[in-house]
Amino acid sequence: MTNLEKYAKAFVDSFDVDTAALPTCSYQSVAVWDSIGHMALMALLEETFGIMLETEDIIDFSSFEKGKEILRKYSVEL
């Protein structure tokens, strides 16, 4: 699986959403992406890529697209 596929899978697993809907997926655009869903997603991404996200990045992680930018800072090539 490529990193992008792994990244997408984390969203699908956390939020039970369709892959097709991911590009427009953002905080609270699906009911499941609330604080609790956010925490689950962050935990899954940290585990998947073996990284530790900083506070600033956790609270800035507001959409599928924004998240890609953030992960690049942790040398995760997407």
């Binding site: 039970d16 905080y27 009911a31 499941v32 609330d34 604080s35 609790i36 869903g37 956010h38 925490m39 689950a40 962050m42 935990a43 900083e54 506070t55 956790i58 609270i59 800035d60 507001s62």
Partner: protein, 476 residues
């Protein structure tokens, strides 16, 4: 409970939109409401952490109009059921939701007042149910799994609990608490009530801890305190809260369920090391909001304890034979006595005329012990419910709800706080059950695990053997 007219120029609340309201404006808005609602009636308030929601609530209480506080995002079917049961004379709702309130002929309910983004709608429901003179406020006890059971709170209840909280947390007019909990949730509401009583400034935000906007509002408005349920503290830890620069923060309170001893210790240590105060508290909607507090200076020494009764309250422990437990470190049901013990429940509109049924005494349903120094520790529960993200969820109600939606499906609900496990006998329906529970309760599906089993373990009488199920969860 409040005396807004003694500090009219002070700011009562600031909202994350930048708008604010003074205590003087709250008083004059109460007059506006009074001229629209001439007599004592029931109002359904669809709450949010906004100025409109707050101004409506304080005005209703001030005018002895009885508000029933509900979340503005409440499941529509549940709201309809409550509406049918209690026939409110008015709704106080966010203006953007106004058009969804219509009569049988699809005509919108007329709006009598529109201010601060909220609208007061007159309903055509008659006749209204008579209201008891002592009845001040109605709240639900749980999410939407239960029956439309409400807790009836009196003016005396609210005043007593508010005064106790102000006293034990030493709340002054200089406080600036930021909202982290919904206003319709008893603990969230008690933070608002107690700070308004002290003439402080409440910082209202609908943003969540995991959002950047929450923290910018926190810093810009120099928040001094917040409250949280156990899950809030788990999230804060994940956010690496201990490393955040929050110079204005002075006090943290925790209630709404038992914090793990590890998290209790970590936050208590953090508070001690950084010169802040960390209070563990314990409460129930049936006791207005709060019954105990662990003084912050003892938060480390008495780790895992809910502390002592709040000023004006009193605890006792009752054993299985109905006798008072006097020995230390011996378990019994925790019983609370105080003027904040609410009048009782309402299950139908006819119950709103009822007076006090509890005589200021509440059997909490929690099993506790007391140490030699008089500090209490919760060790279990008598009834089959768990708390999910601070919300009480009755496991038997959850089972009934699943069975009525999935006819023929055998199921049993068990689990611990924040983690419900649903055992079913048909693996193909696991996803559907999980989705259903989440959408019905409005609780994130992360809280529900659905586990297929060959058969639900039962005894000869057909009763589910929950102890066996619990073992199977732990064995995982």
């Amino acid at each position: 409970m409040w005396n807004f007219s003694s500090y009219p120029e002070r700011v009562a609340a600031v909202c994350d939109t930048g708008d604010s309201i003074t205590y003087g404006r709250l008083t004059s808005f109460a007059d506006t409401i009074r001229s629209a609602v001439p007599d004592r009636q029931l109002v359904f308030c669809l709450c949010s952490n906004t100025l409109g929601s707050l101004a409506g609530y304080t005005s209703f209480l001030h005018n002895r109009i009885v508000p029933f506080l509900l979340g503005s995002g409440l499941d529509k079917a549940f709201l309809d059921r409550l509406t049918e049961t209690y026939r409110p004379s008015y709704f106080w709702v966010p203006q953007e939701l106004q058009s969804s309130f219509r009569d049988a002929s699809q005509t919108c309910f007329p709006a009598l007042v529109c201010e601060y983004g909220y609208a007061l709608l007159k309903t055509p429901f008659t006749p209204p149910f008579p209201l008891h003179d002592d009845l001040a406020l109605l709240l639900t006890t749980s999410g939407s799994t239960g029956s439309p059971n409400l807790v009836r709170q009196s003016y005396e209840n609210l005043a007593a609990n508010t005064a106790s909280i102000v006293e034990c947390l030493e709340i002054t007019e200089h406080e600036r608490p930021i909202t982290t909990l919904p206003m319709e949730y008893t603990y969230g509401l008690s933070i608002i009530n107690s700070h308004l009583a002290a003439g402080a400034t409440v910082l209202l935000t609908a943003k969540a801890l995991m959002q950047k906007e929450f923290w910018s509002f926190f810093k810009d408005q120099r928040a001094t305190s917040f409250g949280g349920v156990p899950y809030t503290y788990e999230m804060l830890k994940r956010l690496r809260f201990f490393g955040m620069a929050l110079p204005s923060l002075k006090t943290m309170t925790q209630a709404g369920g038992k914090l793990s001893p590890e998290l209790h210790r970590e936050f208590a240590e953090f508070a001690h090391a950084s010169g802040r105060r960390f209070f563990i508290m314990y409460g129930q909607t049936e006791a207005t909001a709060r019954m105990s507090y662990l003084p912050h200076k003892q938060s480390l020494e008495k780790c895992g304890s809910i502390g002592i009764a709040i000023p004006g309250g009193e605890f006792s422990l009752i054993d299985g034979q109905g006798n008072v437990v006097t020995e230390p470190d011996t378990i019994g049901e925790l019983v609370y006595k105080g003027r904040n013990v609410t009048l009782g429940y309402a299950e139908s509109g006819d119950d709103l005329i009822k007076g006090d049924e509890n005589g200021y005494i509440l059997a909490t349903g929690d099993i506790a012990k007391r140490d030699v120094d008089g500090f209490y520790y919760i060790v279990g529960r008598k009834k089959r419910f768990i708390k999910i993200f601070g919300n009480r969820v009755n496991l038997d109600d959850a089972e009934r709800l699943i069975q009525s939606t999935f006819p023929g499906l055998e199921c049993a609900c068990a689990g611990r706080d924040d983690h419900m496990t649903v055992f079913i006998t048909d693996a193909d329906r696991a996803t559907a059950v999980k989705r259903f529970l989440s959408s019905k309760t409005g609780i994130n599906p992360a809280a529900f695990a659905v586990t297929p089993l060959q058969a639900i373990p039962k005894n000869n009488a057909g009763k589910t053997l929950y102890a066996k199920l619990e073992t199977s969860i732990c064995g995982r």
